[in-house]
């Protein structure tokens, strides 16, 4: 049943397809790696039947922000292990950040990532190109060559582009290419130097140097002004502050070409959760206050924030089991993203399920230009799908499918679990288990 040529009938699922404005019970037939029928005409015939009573079927999830660590830190994650974690989490496409070693700042590294991803064959991997050479913020990388190699998003993520002139030319130069996106890690470096967590009551009490929310807002305000000046297309990575939501909302009202993402961990946790110095909750940008978290939730619900992205950032156990200020920031997220959103946003009624799927699949696919993903689900399209049980309860525990275990949700009780992930017609995850 695992070959892409096999026929599969997903029977009796609630099909939610935000891009196709569909939310109905339906059968869906897959044949030859593509959707053969939805609803009428979706008959079993010689297809293997996948019973989906009580389950939800949607376009496969799409992550705009994944760190795969290969090349360079294969002990933390490889393109294959990251792809496997993505499939386990219901993702059929992920966007691999450029801060590898060597940095993905040229077409050769991009092609290597693409080749390794194709060999793994568990999901589509879209490499992100660096904006500047070696992520140093000084000299533009060869954006055009990377566009030719298939890159659609450029980012120095991990770093803000500190030099406004360089960002200006990046955004302006990128307008030479169709729909190329400059994704910024908005954070003024001079305001966060040495900072370990959100600056506020908790950082002062815990004796940890702070990263003020204004560092993000100052950089974002600058970036929006430069987007306005250049006409470039700006994507704001991992928004964390209420003030940033206001800035993005105004920019969108004005008609700027701007999109934004938020991570599941910023939607769930706050700096109050850091009182035990749990390094799995040390992330960049830092977890902020409940007011910020609530603003992020509202911004996601009203569409100011387009996308939920994982910022999947694997780290070695020994790196995270270190002193807080010596531990690198980041949490893995591919395997828990859907459940975190279902548990903390959908179940409490803060976010309609269809909007959650839009933010986890359709919207990121649009920004990424991943036309094979995110719906609308139409006959003839590649069958990139996820089926999940919205009511299944489980505890996030090590070992994870990812090579790393630094999960902010480690030990958390979650609702909603991926049952099947279908990538190009193949069940890469079936009944919750990897198929290869």
């Amino acid at each position: 049943m695992s070959e892409a040529s096999a026929k599969l009938l997903f029977r009796g699922a609630r099909v939610i397809d935000p891009a196709g404005e569909r939310d109905t019970p339906a059968d869906l037939l897959v044949s030859g790696g593509r959707i053969a029928a939805i609803g009428d005409g979706a008959e079993a015939g010689d297809a293997d039947i996948v019973e989906c009573d009580g389950l939800v079927l949607t376009p496969g999830l799409v992550d705009l922000h994944t760190h795969l660590r290969e090349p360079g830190r294969e002990d933390k994650e490889t393109i294959e292990s990251g792809s496997r974690a993505a499939a386990a989490g219901g993702f059929t496409a992920i966007s691999a950040m450029a801060n590898t070693d060597p940095v993905a700042d040229n077409a050769a590294v991009i092609r290597e990532v693409q080749a390794l991803a194709a060999r793994a064959g568990l999901c589509d991997v879209f490499p992100v190109g660096a904006i500047t050479r070696r992520l140093e913020g000084e000299d533009l990388a060869e954006l055009g060559e990377m566009v030719e190699a298939g890159v659609r998003i450029f980012s120095d993520d991990g770093n803000c582009v500190p030099n406004a002139r360089v960002l200006r030319y990046a955004l302006r130069y990128a307008t030479a290419f169709d729909d190329v996106v400059i994704a910024e890690h908005c954070e003024d470096p001079s305001l966060v130097e040495g900072g370990q967590m959100h600056e506020g009551y908790n950082s002062y009490s815990l004796g940890l140097a702070g990263r003020p929310r204004e560092a993000e807002e100052v950089a974002l305000a600058r970036d929006l002004a430069i987007a306005r000046m250049t006409g470039g297309r700006l994507h704001v990575c991992h928004v964390s502050s209420a003030g940033s939501i206001d800035l993005i909302r105004r920019a969108k009202d004005e008609g700027l070409r701007v999109s934004a993402e938020v991570t599941p961990h910023h939607l769930v946790f706050t700096d109050d959760d850091l009182v035990t110095y749990d390094t799995n909750l040390k992330v960049n940008p830092p977890l902020r206050t409940s007011d910020d978290r609530d603003a992020l939730r509202a911004g996601l619900a009203d569409g100011t924030i387009d996308v939920i992205a994982t910022d999947h950032a694997p780290h070695a156990v020994e790196e995270k089991e270190a002193e807080f200020d010596r531990s690198p920031p980041g949490t893995i997220g591919l395997e828990t993203a859907l459940a975190a959103v279902l548990t903390h946003l959908v179940e409490p009624g803060l976010l309609p399920l269809s909007r959650a799927i839009d933010a986890l699949s359709s919207a990121p696919a649009r920004i990424l230009g991943a036309t094979d993903h995110g719906g609308p689900l139409e006959v003839g399209d590649p069958a990139n799908l996820v089926v999940f049980d919205p009511a299944a309860r489980w505890t996030a525990e090590a070992p994870f499918v990812s090579k790393s275990r630094n999960s902010a949700f480690l030990g958390a009780s979650l609702t909603g679990r991926v049952v099947h992930t279908c990538f190009r017609g193949e069940l890469v995850v079936a009944d919750g288990k990897a198929q290869r």
């Binding site: 370990q196 506020g200 009551y201 002062y204 009490s205 815990l206 004796g207 940890l208 140097a209 035990t276 110095y277 020994e318 089991e321 270190a322 002193e323 807080f324 200020d325 010596r326």
Partner: protein, 324 residues
């Protein structure tokens, strides 16, 4: 009391009183010819010092030795740590060696919390980064109570670099817990903006606060902060916030001057001020040993002064040969 002492938040006001009362009993031990009791005989205390601090380490070492515990000093220079061993692996080694208590000093805030995940014994925070230094706060509370007879209602100013001071944090939390009135004084760049949420007052005008004080507590100011532009110059800092002879004259009679040491004479405190009779800086050091004895004793199984009567310094039956 809890098993560990990581923060002043771990102690209730009743716990603080118990620690200070127990220290009272132990202070007498330090005045004997043979300064030793058998209360922790057979127990092992490890001083795990990732950061140099001769005075705190010696104070803990003396405290443990006066209780007859076996003491191991583990400093990072020349040890496996300098060869790259992690905090966790060091903790597991100490665990394997049967440490009953680990006293940790570390430049990273929160490291004592992490240690508790890997150790079964008690962890005592001897200063972690810019977070807390609870035993310093307790010896300061002890000294204030000794000198002024009470803690509740005292007017205490803590002057200087509160932002980076673990002493100021622990002392503020401890004083507020015990009902004292605390004012933090310093340049606004060195006072946490959210400090009023700790239950303290904040001021940048030392001269306005001095006349009402029972305790004037001066913090060490690092010259490094000037290079980081927290204030324009050491000279200006000394002029605006240093405890000069003139400022001492503005203090009410009976006001006590304190400092956690080591002092920058001529910066936060004038040299002759540090030597005045109302400056009790050396007594703070002496009291530190008794307070740390009290803590080790209580955390490692003693329940308070009542039990101390039975098993502590006055118990002939448990007194070892060393005490003779």
């Amino acid at each position: 009391m809890k098993r560990h002492l990581l923060s002043m938040h771990d102690l209730t006001p009743e716990d603080v009183v118990r620690v200070l009362d127990t220290a009272e009993s132990f202070r007498e031990v330090g005045t004997r010819v043979i300064k030793k009791v058998p209360a922790l005989r057979g127990r092992t205390v490890v001083n795990l010092f990732y950061e140099n601090s001769t005075r705190t380490r010696i104070s803990f070492e003396l405290a443990a030795k006066r209780l007859s515990a076996d003491v191991i000093n583990f400093t990072t220079s020349g040890s496996s740590v300098s060869k790259g061993e992690s905090l966790k692996d060091t903790a597991l080694t100490l665990q394997a060696m049967g440490a009953d208590a680990v006293v940790i000093r570390h430049s990273s805030s929160g490291s004592p919390y992490q240690l508790t995940k890997w150790l079964q014994g008690s962890v005592l925070n001897a200063g972690d980064g810019t977070h807390e230094h609870p035993t310093q706060a307790l010896l300061d509370l002890y000294t204030m109570r000794e000198k002024l007879g009470r803690l509740e209602g005292l007017n205490v100013a803590i002057v200087g670099d509160v932002l980076h001071s673990r002493v100021a944090r622990s002392l503020s939390f401890g004083l507020v817990k015990m009902g004292a009135d605390v004012t933090l004084i310093g340049p606004p760049t060195l006072i946490p903006p959210d400090a009023p949420a700790w239950g303290v007052h904040v001021s940048s005008d030392i001269d306005a606060v001095l006349p009402k004080l029972d305790v004037c507590y001066m913090l060490r100011v690092q010259r490094e902060r000037q290079r980081q532009q927290f204030f324009p110059s050491v000279r200006e800092y000394a002029r605006l916030f240093g405890l000069t002879r003139e400022r001492v004259d503005a203090l009410p009679e009976g006001c006590v001057i304190m400092h956690p040491g080591p002092m920058n004479r001529g910066v936060e405190i004038d040299s002759d001020v540090a030597d005045l009779p109302q400056a009790v800086i050396e007594e703070q050091v002496t009291n530190g040993i008794a307070v740390r004895m009290s803590l080790l004793y209580l955390l490692l199984g003693g329940s308070g002064p009542d039990q101390l009567e039975a098993a502590g310094p006055n118990d002939e039956a448990t007194r070892g040969a060393d005490d003779v």
